[in-house]
């Protein structure tokens, strides 16, 4: 009898809280989006499953002694997991288009306006009842506009760990929604003539340039903005492993083993931050709205800067490629290509959009460094 009572008390159903049930549904919802709608499945499947596991009553899998809680402590609190993923991104990224046409960095810079506009939006939300974001919170939310998952997780884990779950979910969800969010904005801000601009082919880039590139970026970062150095440093390390041509084994490890293993762990750990108390709060709705705004503003800023470059170069730059400045590699560049093809069936903008696209990765890492330097403690 006593055993039966003990057993009943140990059952999940006897301890299930309303919020946990909802969060398990949210976890299933994220996995549904990942599988059925192909929303960034590599991250959203583990994040969703992490939410599911962490919200199982009694088990405490996401707690300090639970498996996922321990993974969180080792990999996310220390910042190591997002940095290792960033190394993998660097090893997977070809910066050739950027090296061939460095001016596209300005498009990547302009698109970061989405971040800072969102920062103001987040602070402004405090005027509404129920919101109380600190400047740290606002900074962590704003980085969603960078359209860069690992950067967002890294910054949020440093500035606002409580919001990490919502921020990561928003960041990856909107990255997946780039093909829906961007085209209308791109069409609204450009003329038919601008969209039809055919750009001149990129010059080939030598291996020496590719090898020097990581050093140049890292040294500039070290001199001006050391707070961005972990992010930029790991990105550039990955890229150097890729380009230097003498460490094929390590490059493969960064592109495959490390990034795959860490992605599973990071996803589970982030999912454990999807608890009812933190996630089913008004703040989350605010974050989702602000995130959408950030993407729209970033896209618009990129396109507008594209128009400036169109003018300045006398029509040599297709302003559409500015939209790729938000990063979301390589989806934003693909979207640019698609919108460009609507106008002219032979105008392939993909390679031209890769420049601003990877510039956006550097740009949002720089923005993250600024936010960390000025609001971190």
């Amino acid at each position: 009898m006593e055993e039966l009572l003990k057993l009943w008390q140990s059952m999940g159903i006897a301890n299930l809280e309303w919020g946990q049930a909802l969060m398990m549904a949210v976890g299933c919802g994220l996995i549904y989006l990942a599988i059925a709608k192909k929303f960034e499945p590599l991250l959203l499947v583990p994040i969703g499953f992490g939410a599911l596991l962490s919200n199982i009553p009694v088990a405490g899998i996401g707690g300090p002694d639970g498996m996922i809680g321990q993974i969180y402590a080792v990999g996310v609190e220390t910042g190591i997991f997002p940095l290792l993923i960033f190394m993998g991104v660097g090893a997977l990224t070809d910066f050739g288009a950027l090296i061939a046409r460095p001016s596209t960095l300005l498009l990547g810079a302009a698109a970061q306006f989405g971040i800072f506009a969102t920062l103001i939006g987040a602070v402004a939300l405090n005027f509404l009842p129920g919101f109380d974001f600190t400047l740290q919170d606002a900074s962590a939310i704003a980085i969603i506009g960078g359209a860069d998952g690992p950067t967002a997780i890294f910054l949020a884990s440093r500035l606002a760990p409580d919001l990490l779950g919502a921020i990561a979910v928003a960041a990856y969800s909107y990255m997946a929604l780039v093909p829906i969010i961007q085209p209308p904005i791109m069409r609204a801000l450009t003329t038919k003539k601008e969209r039809a601009v055919v750009m001149q082919q990129l010059r080939p880039v030598s291996q020496l340039e590719r090898i020097l590139f990581p050093f140049v970026v890292l040294l500039l970062c070290a001199m001006l903005l050391p707070s961005a150095a972990p992010l930029i440093g790991m990105l550039m390390l990955g890229n150097l492993l890729r380009e230097c041509g003498v460490v094929e084994r390590l490059s493969r490890a960064a592109q495959n083993e490390i990034i795959n293993i860490v992605t599973i762990m990071l996803g589970l750990a982030v999912g454990s931050k999807l608890s009812a108390d933190k996630f089913l709060a008004l703040e989350t709705l605010g974050i989702l709205v602000l995130g959408a705004a950030a993407f729209c503003i970033g896209t618009a800023a990129g396109v507008l800067m594209g128009k400036v470059m169109y003018r300045v170069t006398g029509g040599k730059v297709n302003p559409l490629i500015g939209a790729a400045g938000v990063s979301a590699v390589p989806m934003a560049a693909r979207v640019v290509n698609r919108v460009g093809l609507e106008e002219d069936h032979h105008n392939f903008l993909l390679m031209h959009a890769m420049g601003p696209n990877v510039a956006g990765v550097i740009g949002s890492a720089v923005a993250a460094g600024v936010l960390l330097a000025l609001t971190g403690n």
Binding site: E3, A281, L285, M331
Partner: protein, 87 residues
């Protein structure tokens, strides 16, 4: 705890244990059958994970997906509302 108490404890444990194992797996039999029935009803219709082999490129959603963003917010808004209005 004397050895006799232990024996009784372990007999109880065996009873409860086999009961739960059988109960759990019997329940699972029922649920799996229901699941297969439901899946069979859903499958003829087009939605949800297509049996098409996974596409290699991240899908560029057609216009039919335009509701995706709203869906996300709507679903979570509903969840938040429910959670906050709980008794």
């Amino acid at each position: 705890m004397t050895d006799n108490t232990l024996i009784i404890e372990s007999l109880t444990l065996m009873g409860i244990g086999m009961g739960i194992v059988f109960g759990f797996l019997l329940l699972l039999v029922g649920i799996l059958r229901t699941m297969s029935w439901v899946a069979g009803r859903l499958l003829p219709m087009p939605p949800a994970p297509d049996p098409v082999p996974p596409v290699l490129t991240p899908s560029t959603h057609g216009s039919g997906d335009t509701a995706g963003s709203d869906d996300l917010i709507a679903v979570i808004a509903a969840a938040v509302a429910r959670y906050r209005t709980r008794p």
